[in-house]
Amino acid sequence: MIQLKNVTFRYPRRKPLFSDLSLELEGNHIYGLLGKNGEGKTTLMKLMSGLLFAKEGSIETLGEKACLRRPKMLEEIYFLPEEMYVPSISIQEFETIFSPFYPRFSSEQFHNYMELFEITDFRQNLMRMSHGQKKKVLIAFAMATNCQIVFMDEPSNGLDIPSKSIFRKVMASAADEQRMIIISTHQVRDLHSLIDTILILDQGEILLNAPVEQITEKLLFKVVDTEGEAQTALYKEDTLRGIYAVFENINREDSKMDIELLFNSALCNRDKIKEIFSLQK
């Protein structure tokens, strides 16, 4: 669905953000795009959606060159930015004037999602709503477009606790074989049950691109009691229960992945992680 080949990108008068980056993303996945501040998560999503142009290399989204921004491609992608822009119109008007652009938009789904988010008055002006409410409207709209690719930049920022649970429910129901959802987030605990493939961006390259099953197959997440036991850990953190550590899963034990722990261990052991997941060049 999305192919990046030898992509190089830099902002004017800054050092390159990506050099010779190659990546392939497929449908039927919910990708969690992780990275430190300023690593280029939002930039990467903008490159894939044609909002930014690579200086070198090629980016194809749904078989089209992303930079051309053809209607055929744009009808099948939806970009939900972290800072949203909403016109000064009601929710009903927003649905009326924006839904015709998306051939597979479902009004029924939009209304269902809005009901889940407990927003029932469609006469409300979008500009006068709170940040969280605007976000709920745009999330509901994004999922109701039934686009093949949905980019979400920090979607759970600004959502209250019950809404985060509803958001997970909406996303889980919207995921299907034809669809790809890419979520850039720091709030991994909000979305850990949703994401099925982890993408970690670090120092301008993809440090990790693996499904959750593969990660739990190759890495072991467990709590150990002593420092001695944690000596071979790739990464460890002291917790009240003991030392929470990540090990190479030599014995193929089962464990539950902790995304934050995974992220920190990946950053601390870049070469080892690449070796384990065979990303060495």
């Binding site: 142009f53 004037i97 924006f98």
Partner: protein
């Protein structure tokens, strides 16, 4: 599907543009009408009651120039730019709708507002001052003169449209400077190269009035098309 042009997409893009902006457009219309009422009253007082009507006058020109210079203002805001650039329509369609919005829709909106302002001034307020003589409404319009004005205004608006997409930040200021530059270049070309006087010592091209008019029309058309093309090119290359 035609990737470059689709009547269906033009229709929904036009609907999108109109419905997003209708409240703002209504405010512009009402303000323009009120402003033009005052303007015509002022002119009537200045000219001793005789105030011939010009559909394209100074306030109309300024208003249209201002509106054209902020056509792509949404691109200045990253999230607004994201929403606009990811709208499923080709760049050509987006420019076409913007050109129609500024060069036709806003032109009609502002001129009609001006005409209504003239009506209010001439038939509602001025009669209150019975000692003022009111010239007939639209009694005389110099069509040829008006035609040249509209032609030049079209060029100016197209330049401002380009400036609004090229100078995303402080669009109005840079658009104004560009507009002034276009006017000066046009005047220079007229003064330095073209002439209807048979004064060969100043090495002017000696042309008949008809030839000058034809050249002027061709030149204005070419410049307008050039700026529309540049608007399309620039929007195509816009990143956010």
């Amino acid at each position: 599907m035609n990737e470059l042009f689709s009547f269906h997409r033009i229709g929904i893009l036009s609907q999108n543009t109109f419905l997003q902006n209708w409240k703002k457009d209504l405010r512009i219309f009402l303000c323009m009408m009120g402003g033009m009422t005052i303007w015509h009253l002022f002119r009537a007082l200045l000219y001793g009651g005789y105030a011939p009507y010009y559909p394209v006058n100074f306030p109309v020109v300024i208003t249209l120039i201002c509106l054209a210079s902020i056509t792509f203002k949404k691109l200045a805001n990253p999230s607004g730019g994201i929403m606009y650039l990811t709208l499923p329509a080709s760049t050509f369609e987006k420019v076409l709708v913007s050109v129609f919005q500024v060069q036709v829709y806003y032109f009609l909106l502002v001129v009609v507002a001006g005409l209504l302002g003239y009506f209010f001034a001439s038939y509602v307020f001025l009669p209150l001052f019975s000692f003022w003589h009111v010239d007939g409404v639209v009694s005389y319009i110099d069509c040829e003169h008006m035609g040249w004005l509209i032609l030049m205004l079209t060029v100016g608006i197209s330049a401002m449209l380009f400036a609004s997409v090229y100078f995303v930040k402080r669009a109005f200021l840079w658009s104004l400077l560009l507009g002034i530059a276009v006017v000066f270049v046009t005047l220079w070309i007229d003064g330095a190269i073209l002439s209807t006087k048979e004064d060969l010592s100043n090495y002017h091209f000696v042309l008949s009035h008809s030839a000058v008019k034809a050249l002027f029309i061709m030149g204005c058309s070419f410049i307008t098309l050039f700026f529309w093309f540049m608007t399309w090119l620039r929007l195509r290359e816009t990143e956010v």
